[in-house]
């Protein structure tokens, strides 16, 4: 447990990273819809074609190999679109997460219900910290000022709250992917 593949990647291993690469492109490069699918497809194909050249260069992690390819292809994609950077227009994260993070809105709604159920089992101070940071978008120091407690306490409450929440969620089969 906790061990990752350290040797040169095989074709199967590269194919198994498809979801990770998709998440990376969605999050880091803010690619959406067809753009995301195109860049993902191109990245996976390039990784599979060139994997025989990869020999664990300088003992680099296999993730370095994949990320290098994904970066190059994303850059090329933006050049083709005459865009040098990621888009600057504000994005509606939730709407654009559908199909990548959530299957659809029904899944998200269901998750919201389950999350409410799980969060209600947490102690009050955990709930307050989660609400301020994840719902209201406060930074830890702002949350500390709001709650009138030291920032260090907020960090530890946040850490404990997330651990307990994940533990509660993982016990529930409805939460498992």
């Amino acid at each position: 447990m906790g061990e990752i593949n350290a040797g040169p990647p095989s074709k199967d291993w590269i194919a198994s990273r498809r979801e990770a690469v998709k998440l990376y492109l969605w999050k880091k490069w803010e690619l959406r819809g067809d753009d995301l699918e195109d860049v993902l497809q191109e990245t996976m194909t390039a990784a599979l074609q060139s994997f025989s050249n990869y020999k664990g260069l300088n003992n680099a992690e296999p993730g370095t190999y994949l990320i290098g390819i994904a970066k190059n292809i994303a850059h090329s994609h933006f050049r083709r679109l005459n865009r040098h950077e990621r888009r600057s227009a504000p994005i509606e994260e939730f709407a654009e997460s559908l199909g990548v993070i959530f299957r659809d809105e029904v899944e998200a709604e269901e998750l919201a219900k389950l999350l409410k159920e799980k969060i209600s089992k947490l102690p009050k101070n955990y709930v307050q910290v989660l609400e301020l940071i994840f719902y209201k978008g406060y930074r830890e120091r702002e949350a500390a000022a709001e709650l009138g407690i030291p920032a260090e306490k907020v960090y530890s409450l946040k850490s404990d709250a997330l651990k307990r929440l994940r533990k509660l969620c993982l016990k529930d089969p409805r939460f498992r992917p």
Partner: protein
Amino acid sequence: MFCTYHNRLDYIADYVRGELADDEQEKFEIHYLACDECLDAVRFMEKTSLTMRHYGSRIFAAIPQTNWLDHLKNWWEELPLSQQWKTAIPALATYLLFVGIISAGYYWFNSGMKISQHPSHQDRSGGMVQDTSNGPLVEVQHFNWTQPAADITEPALLNRLAEIQPIYQAHDYQLAADRLTQVVQDFPQSLEARLFLGISQLHLKHSTAAVQNLEKALQIRPEYAPAQWYVTQGYLIQNRFVEARQQLAALMKQQDPHFRKSAEQCLKKLNKLNK
């Protein structure tokens, strides 16, 4: 190589929220592209974070306060025990608690019985078996008849009372009342016969006859505490609260502390009931 990130959910949450420095962010991305556990953790955090942000008003609205029982349940759920143990331990604890309660109850009941059967307990109140501080307003209690009074001079009366006394003591009030009725016919001035006939009739719920016999006993010996107490019981059964109060007032002046205390408690109950 071992993963050092997947248990650091706060770190992963910072990544999801874009709070990590660029170099740390890239380092973590290189890592999670190759690590299944971190990929799962990132997906969990991304889902949870997006859900809390988008549905926060619903999720955080009026979350009920967790009470000590919920905390206990959560604590129990989080204990690193197998599901079998988590089921077995509460079942065993419930069983032990049940056995404990039953044993304690049995012990208490037995020791209570022993105390009430102890002679000193029976005689402590001049023959009254139970204390009257608690319980209903009227609760006719057995009055111990230890032996016929020493001042009875007529041998025939003495013999007949000596025959009836064990019957009464065995709580056979019907037979005792039948025999005592005959004694009263033959010896109408027998205080003892009137008293125990009255008490037996109270037990048999013949309150009118009981009150008559107890009043006769009081005529024979006014201010005789047992007769005063039991005639009071008769009055209370018949809802004759004025007469009952008069007798209780008289009992409060008695020397016998037990009857005085019983009368006081009875008066308190009457006052409480506004009778």
